[in-house]
Symmetry: C2
Subunit: 806 residues, 2 copies
């Protein structure tokens, strides 16, 4: 397996090595956290696999009884939060505000404003995410058109807008005199081979410029801005801390580079990155409210809602966005969050609509309206599309992961800029000659989804018209004209190109979403199949399978619907989304009529893809990057017990413990300096090993230092006492250091015989960082979240060392 | 408080007293479980409040190592299941099937069929629920019309159907010669006062007959069939067992009586009961599959999906149904269930559509299509509607709960049949003269939602027409004609009647849903306000507030939209639904345009209602009936600790424990016979009190009996040994009884200092039945789910004894 060597690469990249940063390629460059100074990673306990590793939490139960010391209650970078403690802290805070609110009017106002701050935050997130999405849409539209020409009436107009502004009359909607292609501008005319070559050349040059700028910005200012961001956001929402990943620099750079990357014509979409952008907005706006700034658990609720707003603006599908956040992204999603997410998603969608970037007053990216119902027999091609979607999804995930692994492990990863330029050049050179690849991918999808009306002038709608049989708006099935056949060929070529280029594009060092390319692949296949079925029905309407529902002159097949079903199938195969996928598609069409075909295809696609490989693309990338993500969807199905997972193992040194009232300050300081564990169990005595509580390393160090400085009579031989009543000492002995206040008296425990499936369940549902293991009331060992993740990896025959952080 | 005395009433009714059954009224009559013989409730441990109470679980970890004894792994009635154990059992089962599948083709097939059985089950539930909903719709429609007349072409036709079949031409669509009102049939003519009185009389008589039949059927055959069923289903889904509540008799009787109750014209709806019916279908169909029949946790997943299917057919809103199940009904809702629920909801909706009970090929109950966008200023009336909805919701809940409590505590509850007859008579007498109350409530809502077209003949659309200003389909705002004013008066009267009669109707001994009456109240208010705003805009379009968006001759106000917003607000105020409510309404209109008004109203309504009383109607009924439901939405916010809740309390007798290897058979038998606890902690020794495990009463009794009968040398003085290696005994002593196999070695423990908020969280998220409390590794006490519920009630200043069952 390459995994181990990749791990080393990525690990090294974390040690602030400027060169290694490029090796890690599109993966996280943990040394480049943009909000905080680089970490001294060697100090972190996260990498040793011995007992107690990875528990650097500094939150205590006592934060609210006294003024917290600076730094207390926060976490170090690349650590896992303790959900139980965070939620406890929030409840304590809430309780205090509620109690105070009875005292004065001011406190009451504070309590009310505290209760509504969540809603205000959602409103702000919705407004900001919607505005940014509108900005991105408008800029990307303009810059995409810039590759082909410029508007004389004002260079800041895009093609469509330019022709709206035009006062002159012109025949073809697209060809207004104000809009000049590059050849028209430079040569003065747009005809002939030379003009074509000039346009071709300009197209490629612009594409290269955009992508170069994008990759340089990402590399130079915000390495976290690359990729889709969804795997990392999933990990963050599950409780991991990656500082700067949702910071202001990431937001700015990701927004700019997303526009550049989309405009460069690369085979990528803006949907995944928009989720990242929305989450950045959420994270930054959290700083306005103490409630969310200081509590990692509350902040993650906000981020879940922001993710919903991101998908909502990406597709104009607020309900789908909320379900996407629920199904795919979020970890802890209480009902309160559901309702707030919905609000944020709606505000974002309506902000976007009032900006009206598509110029059609529609909320959705691909607005479609179908008129004809579908027939039950059509389920056969729909299920075929589902099978194709599943196969494509599995194929894409395998190839993309293999390529990303190769990038990380070979010299290839050292040249991210070159890689982006090469891929852009290949994409642009291949794309220009084919009109279906030259247009932006979302335009392509729109056109494929479109049901041909009587006035449609696109090539895909060049049917042999027989106006005698037309009744009202409904067009009967017709024979395909030469335009349709040309379009079929071009689409087939576009399909082949998209299939391969997307594999190499996703994971490069530019922001890149996967939704649009996947949907494009599915939509092309769907449209091809749709037209094929349509022509079959037209020429062979006497066949038994068509009898009864598709007689001559009837409009029975809608190729646009096939394209939509195909898009859903491919997207489902790649992401393994289910309900949210169907709901997003439902919101695009607005008709419950088409839910059954969409569902049939999505279900088939998921089953087929799952049969080949269980992981969706995001989970695969999480595993590739070794993020500590405890998957909530997969059941842990092995018959191991807590004793098989806990540290210390049989032949290890025994667990490092502190006794409750017999150790001196010096003993404890020795333990702290000789180990790197971030917490220590406190027991009654070494002999009995009966558990009293759990104390965190950081609290211990701070408290001892503090006492030595400020408390009289505390010397190295002072006894440290964690109990309420300390045992009487001979009068000559130095005074006792009482540390009960920093002791967590309610550590989670399980017995050594507890099945691991239950332990995993507890870790997932309660969001624990560690859990102590007892046998007959005696402390035996400890299980950390990292131990659990390693054990799961081991049971799945993966390298347990691939779990890097905890 | 009346609560305590009610508790007694309900408790007595459980002791199979035929008369007391009527006292309990609409509450559960636990003696009448229809699938199982009546229980000897006195034996159950659920009612003593001392330590260890209420843990009658009989599942063990060992079920799969040996052939389970009959009855092992099942629960007694009115007990709480242990989610952790149930899920463990399912995983064991799954693991075994997966392992076996490698052995033979047959086992592989079994494994595949096992994996797909969930989907098959969903399909069946969808088909059955959809068919039953169709049947109910058709029958209710027919019987509602039967109150007014009969079809000569065939008495089984309803009014609409009868007139479709008619061959004769007639002017008014509603007045075909085949359809005879009762006066026409009996007197030969339908004119005049006498005919009116005869029709009136027949209307009341039919209503009384239907409701009498309904209440007698409920009372005689299936007392569980009354009410909406949602509070009980919430309780069951949270892990409580009420045998027969979802049984076949309940299904049959509820289906029949629902039709009767709806047809009788009472102010009730069929939506809640349809959820109950769908859950019955789910529960019954579970018996076809071992996987679901034998596992209470898996079965609850199916029931969650069935609830979604129920709402889906009630409104024709599959996505809304799934969200309703997620938000309102379900307790444990993994993502897998989400996807399956969606499937079941879709199948049910499409089954219903193919039955086509509304005759319009539409899926939804109230199909509406609005053409006009709304203006931002209209949010003011929408928010007013939200405030009204919240006030109505809070008022309704208070009055209804007060009335239901009175019914339970006074003599009133003894005469359920009389109560139903009186309410029916009052409803029918008041309803007939007013055309808006005479029609069925869902027809009324349809009419109120409807946007007046140019050809609408209803009174609500009698505007002063000015055909000159009409452009195409769009009608400008017009002056209201006399018909509209009459309609306004009648609607106002209908509103007053509905508001009061619904309070007395919900909770009677017939199936009764609350959605439709709540929506009707809101729709009437909304329509009234809508028409008022419309006329204001028409007559005063020069006012500043209308300038710019509502000029003369423009169509700017849609009263139907106001009705819809009002309906959503009132439904939200009563049920406190949020996302699911908006999504259901969205599915009715199919346009994202109207989500913002709906959301504004739903949010306002929830805030207003929550400010007056935190509980929705279902939660209020759960509390009224004392079901052991651990609410997942409310945070526990008090600062108590585990030691304050655990049993034994300070001055109680110490915890009854069993030692691991020193007690004799006789000692254990004495403990079992002298206490009623359903489980006992096993400790190392009485002195050390170090916890070894937990043993269930039932397992202990069965194992000792079994050993005494079949094992040689087991006598009363035999030592019972729970350890792996039993201590050596003198040769003269009788042989040792080894019982390690029945010991649960992984009981959940918390320390005595654990805050109760964390304990409550653990109980909720893991679905525990009990949890042991330790201090420094020593066993101190036990907390059961019932203790937690009592503590929550106590903290909320409620009578802790109102929690009846565990």
């Amino acid at each position: 397996m390459d995994q181990k060597s990749y791990r080393r690469g990525s690990f090294q990249s974390a040690t602030s090595d400027e060169d290694m940063l490029e090796i890690a390629g599109a993966s996280m460059d943990f040394s480049m956290a943009d909000d905080d100074p680089p970490l001294d990673r060697e100090m972190g306990a996260g990498f040793s696999s011995c007992n107690g590793a990875g528990m650097n939490s500094t939150s205590t139960m006592m934060d609210f009884l006294e003024e917290p010391l600076p730094g207390v209650g926060t976490y170090e970078d690349f650590n896992t939060i303790d959900w139980v403690r965070e939620k406890s802290r929030d409840r304590d805070r809430h309780r205090e505000i509620t109690n105070r609110s009875k005292e004065s009017t001011w406190a009451l106002l504070h309590s009310v404003s505290d209760a509504f701050s969540g809603w205000l935050l959602m409103l702000l997130i919705g407004l900001l995410a919607g505005s940014l999405a509108g900005l991105i849409d408008i800029s990307a539209h303009w810059m995409t058109d810039l590759k082909e020409g410029v508007c004389l009436a004002g260079f800041w107009f895009n093609h469509e807008h330019c022709c709206w502004k035009s006062n002159t009359t012109f025949t073809d909607r697209d060809k207004c005199p104000e809009w000049k292609s590059w050849s028209q501008l430079i040569l003065g005319h747009g005809e002939g081979a030379f003009a074509y070559i000039l346009n071709y050349f300009m197209y490629v040059i612009w594409a290269l410029m955009f992508s170069l700028l994008a990759v340089l910005l990402v590399k130079g200012f915000a390495p976290y801005a690359c990729g889709s961001g969804i795997p990392e956001i999933k990990t963050i929402l599950s409780g991991f801390i990656i500082r700067g990943y949702l910071g202001k620099w990431t937001l700015v750079i990701k927004t700019i580079t997303l526009v550049l990357a989309v405009s460069s014509g690369l085979s990528l979409g803006k949907e995944g990155p928009l989720v990242h952008v929305a989450c950045c907005c959420g994270n930054i706006l959290c700083h306005l409210f103490t409630k969310y700034r200081k509590n990692e658990a509350k902040r993650r609720e906000v981020l879940s809602a922001a993710a919903a707003a991101g998908v909502s603006v990406a597709f104009g599908a607020p309900i789908g966005g909320v379900l996407f956040s629920l199904e795919e992204v979020s970890y802890y999603f209480p009902l309160k969050t559901l309702w707030r997410s919905f609000f944020a998603a709606l505000v974002a969608a309506f902000t976007l609509r009032s900006i009206n970037p598509f110029g059609n007053s529609r909320l959705v990216l691909f607005y479609v309206e179908f008129h004809m119902p579908w027939h039950l027999l059509e389920l056969v091609p729909f299920i075929l599309l589902g099978i194709f979607g599943g196969l494509w999804g599995a194929f894409f995930i395998r190839s993309n992961i293999a390529w990303c692994r190769r990038r990380k492990t070979t010299r290839l990863g050292r040249y991210p800029v070159l890689e982006v330029l090469v891929v852009t050049a290949i994409t642009a050179v291949l794309a220009f000659p084919n009109e279906y690849t030259r247009m932006s991918t979302s335009e392509l999808i729109s056109e494929l989804f479109n049901d041909c009306g009587i006035l449609d002038s696109s090539k895909l709608c060049e049917y042999v018209n027989d106006f005698n049989s037309t009744k009202g708006d409904d067009l009967p099935d017709r024979a395909a004209g030469p335009g349709v056949y040309t379009a079929m060929w071009q689409l087939a070529l576009a399909l082949i190109m998209k299939v391969f280029i997307t594999i190499f594009t996703f994971g490069m060092k530019v922001p890149s979403g996967l939704f649009i390319p996947s949907m494009a692949v599915g939509a092309i296949v769907g449209r091809l199949l749709g037209v094929a079925v349509e022509q079959l029905a037209f020429y062979h309407h006497d066949w038994a399978i068509f009898s009864g529902w598709c007689s001559q002159g009837a409009d029975c097949i809608t190729p646009g619907l096939y394209a939509m079903v195909g898009a859903a199938a491919c997207l489902g195969g790649v992401t393994r989304m289910t309900v949210s996928l169907v709901v997003i598609m439902f919101e695009l069409t607005g008709g419950l009529e088409y839910i059954v075909p969409l569902m049939a295809a999505a279900m088939t696609s998921k089953w087929v893809a799952d049969a080949i490989g269980r992981e969706g693309i995001y989970d695969a990338h999480i595993r590739l990057n070794g993020y500590p993500f405890l998957e909530a969807k997969e059941e842990f199905s092995h018959k191991t017990r807590a004793m098989d997972v806990m540290r210390p193992r049989k032949n290890d040194t025994p667990l490092t413990v502190i006794t409750q009232d017999t150790m001196t300050v010096e003993d404890v300081e020795n333990i702290v300096s000789s180990t790197t564990y971030s917490g220590y169990p406190v027991v009654v005595s070494r002999v009995s090993q009966r558990l009293v509580g759990f104390v965190l390393r950081r609290d211990l160090i701070i408290s001892i230092d503090n006492a030595r400085k400020k408390q009289d009579g505390i010397v190295s031989t002072s006894i440290i006492c964690f109990t309420d009543y300390c045992p009487p000492l001979p009068p000559s002995s130095p005074s006792v250091l009482k540390l009960r206040s920093i002791l967590d008296l309610s550590p989670f425990t399980v017995t050594d015989e507890t099945p691991m499936e239950i332990v995993v369940d507890i870790f997932r549902k309660l969001g624990l960082r560690q859990c102590l293991v007892t046998h007959n009331g005696k402390l035996l060992g400890i299980i950390t979240k990292k131990d659990v993740l390693k054990h799961i990896a081991q049971m799945a025959n993966q390298d347990p060392e691939s779990i890097l952080f905890n």
